[in-house]
């Protein structure tokens, strides 16, 4: 073990960690949007929408993320969309997380008492207002712990995008350890950085949860 190696590599690793964080955040944001749309479509869009949503969720939860990533990375150019690896990666992370998020929302919606939307209907609320004023705010609050967990999972999964050449934390560690022949030290440092980010995210999640409980 030579710690000076880690100190020398630290600026690069931290810079790469920033990429990891914002790629994961963009992925999770995209996943939120997709998950919400899929969830609402499955609940209120009729049978065809429910089935299509079901196939989407089953596929993206059943197929390994690495294969999804390669699928998007190689298939988009074939249908004429030539995207940089970074965009393909964010799309893959977003699509994968959307499948999980839609299930999280479904669970949270089921936890909102049915009588509430019936009462709203009886009071003459239009359908859209029932969603935006009664169901979604409560579902969101219920799903916060699961969503933070999803963010942590996605951050770890983002290490896979190193395969298509995005210079995030894992890829940068590979490059550095290939150059200085110090894989043990570099990967340990990368592991500690991942751990620190996840720890911070978990702490943030607890804070948000506490805040929402007060409100």
């Amino acid at each position: 073990m030579k710690f000076s190696v880690i100190i020398d590599a630290l600026p690069h690793l931290l810079g790469a960690a920033v990429t990891t964080v914002w790629v994961s955040l963009l992925g999770v944001l995209l996943g939120q949007v997709i998950g919400l749309v899929v969830c609402v479509a499955r609940q209120s869009g009729g049978r065809a929408a429910d089935m299509a949503g079901g196939v989407y969720v089953s596929f993206f939860r059943g197929v390994p993320l690495l294969i999804q990533l390669l699928l998007i990375y190689y298939m988009l150019p074939l249908i004429g969309i030539d995207v940089p690896p970074l965009v393909a990666s964010i799309a893959a992370l977003g699509l994968a997380s959307g499948a999980y998020v839609s299930e999280i929302y479904r669970g949270a919606l089921n936890a909102v008492p049915h009588g509430q939307s019936e009462a709203a209907l009886a009071l003459g609320f239009p359908g859209s207002a029932i969603w935006t004023r009664i169901l979604l705010p409560q579902a969101f609050r219920i799903s916060v712990p699961a969503l933070v967990n999803e963010l942590i999972l996605l951050l770890k999964a983002s290490s896979l995008i190193s395969v298509v050449g995005v210079a995030e934390l894992t890829r940068t560690s590979q490059t550095i350890s290939a150059a200085n022949y110090r894989p043990l030290e570099i990967y340990l440092a990368a592991g500690v950085i991942y751990l620190a980010i996840n720890g911070a995210l978990a702490l943030f999640g607890t804070l948000v949860e506490r805040r929402l409980q007060q409100a």
Partner: protein
Amino acid sequence: MLDFTLLVQYGPALLRGFGVTILCWGAGCLIGMVLGFVLMLLRQIPVKPLRWVIRAYIEVIRGTPFLIQLFLLYSGGPSIGLRLEATAAGILGLGIYGSAYFAEIFRAGYQAVPKGQVEAALSLGMSYGSILRRVIVPAMLVSTIPAIVNMMAILTKETVVLSIITVPELMYEMQTMAAETFATFETIVGMALFYWLLVEVVSRLGRRLEARVTRFLTHASPQGSSTQTATARA
């Protein structure tokens, strides 16, 4: 469209790859469960430093990407004299990764066993070993089967990551085929469909196992029916 002569030509390699996938998965699950169970037991010992160490192990494994753990084991291992072949490193890595999750699953199962059952067994004069074997473990296995099955399905998906450290499993063989024949598109679509099916089969089998174990309990002796309550509470 997919060129079927390719499948004939690469069939043996793909089958071999699938064999390695199943081997890694099976051995990895086994190591993970055994290690996870031991960790869970060690955690019950009321020695604080030991608990901290196990807790730290679990948090570290669950807080870092599987790929980083694999690189650390496979590329970093030789620096401390741990020289493993790719497949061995893959199996060990999968086992270590799984062990942290299994330890948490078993812990939840252990806590869900009603205290009264353990106290009753103690007052009947049973030793801790037989309480564990005859009271705790049976109840625990039943209440944790859904979680175990879920984890095993997750590990099925994680086996593809082993291809990155050059374990010659299915994903690796398929990528070789894609690189040699330029049939990238077909290969990836084929892989996606295949793994979708595989994960689905694993979950279905798991659900059947679950149904079977629970059915056995509803027809079983009084011990069985009290385990049922444990399941309901868990």
